[in-house]
Amino acid sequence: MSSKVVSAVELPALIHGSHAPERAQPLGERLDLVEHVKVRMTIVLGAAELQLGRLFAMTAGEVISLDRDVDAPVDVRLHDKLVARGHIVAVGDKFGVRISEILAD
């Protein structure tokens, strides 16, 4: 094992706004920094309330009725946040969702 000198490091105290250039741009407006980052959207058909006993006993073939009408829009979620609604379509051999409503915030 080689011999190294080890010494303590003291990190400087930081103060909000110090060392900022005169015309600093908030990072929140720099969408270009993250525009290519991929996020995962989830399409939710609907929900149902089930007793755990039924969940434990659930077998293949069982049909679970959901809380949405057939022609109701599906939810488009970004992680757990509902961001839009839309209708199911076919795009070639893939499922797709045509956006019918954008939810603010």
Binding site: L31, L45, M58, D67, K94, V97
Partner: protein, 275 residues
């Protein structure tokens, strides 16, 4: 001889406090004679007649068992059960049926008291198994104890304090699932499965929210920011692919084929655990 336990288990059941006062000079003389021969230096002796009464119901005879309350260290009182050698085979011969009979002989006390009595007998059986000589064949006698252990778990017994005779000199029966299980082999796979099944039944009525998921799409942040009505998001899933069912806030529990039932959207469960 060795102590049944090193400290007193915190009790939550008290039975018979001050109800029984039996003073038998003969029994007292027997106790003191035994104690002189078994454990010199005894500091206090409880009234053993009720304990003897309990044992008579179990087919034993007073004073086969002597319960001796001794002043112990910082933990406070400590019960030491002294058992004459000739008594051990009979104690270990106790069957579950005998203990149930004892419980049923106390209908006026209600089921709780019956359970306490059964627990007292059970404790003594285990205590004897702990204290007795190496000749004790514990394996041969674990079946009734194991059955009672399951009962104790069901009723959430953590300890029993039975006050017999003078309330100022309570007879403390140390008992806990830990103490009992410490004398028994590990539960069998069948017993573990039974416990799991029991817990399943206990929570079977709880309601959880599940969601049916059609699929997912990977989109860029810029596409999300520019998303507008009329846009089409292309999912990763093929048209013939299954969706999935997930517990809200949990994981996927099964694959599911989207469809409809009576005017409502619905899903048909496919292979479980396969999304």
């Amino acid at each position: 001889m060795r102590a049944v336990g090193s400290s007193i288990v915190r009790p939550f059941l008290v039975m018979g406090e001050g109800r029984r006062r039996v003073h038998s000079q003969h029994v007292q003389a027997c106790v003191e004679r035994w104690l002189r021969s078994w454990a010199p230096g005894v500091q206090a002796v409880v009234n053993v007649e009720p304990a003897g009464d309990l044992m008579r119901m179990a087919g034993l005879h007073t004073p086969d068992i002597v319960c001796w309350r001794a002043a112990a260290g910082p933990d406070g009182q400590q019960l030491i059960v002294i058992v004459p050698g000739q008594c051990i085979p009979r104690l270990l011969g106790l069957q579950a049926g005998v203990i149930e009979t004892i419980a049923h002989q106390h209908p006026e006390e209600g089921s709780l008291a019956a359970m306490v009595v059964a627990e007292a007998v059970r404790t003594l059986v285990v205590a004897v198994a702990n204290c007795s000589a190496a000749s004790v064949d514990l394996q041969r006698n674990t079946a009734p104890i194991a059955a009672l252990l399951r009962e104790a778990e069901t009723t959430r017994f953590t300890g029993v304090l039975v006050t017999l005779g003078d309330p100022r000199a309570p007879l403390v029966l140390l008992s806990s699932p830990q103490l009992v299980s410490g004398t028994l082999p590990a539960p069998s796979a069948a017993l573990r499965e039974e416990r799991v099944e029991r817990r399943r039944r206990a929570i079977a009525d709880e309601v959880v929210s599940v969601e049916a998921l059609l699929g997912h799409a990977e989109v860029s942040v810029s596409d999300v920011a520019a998303l507008a009505v009329g846009d089409v998001i292309i999912l990763q899933e093929d048209l013939g692919a299954n969706g999935s069912i997930a517990v809200r806030g949990g994981g996927v529990i099964a694959g599911a084929m989207p469809g409809q039932l009576d005017g409502k959207r619905a899903v048909q469960v496919k292979k479980r655990g396969d999304s």
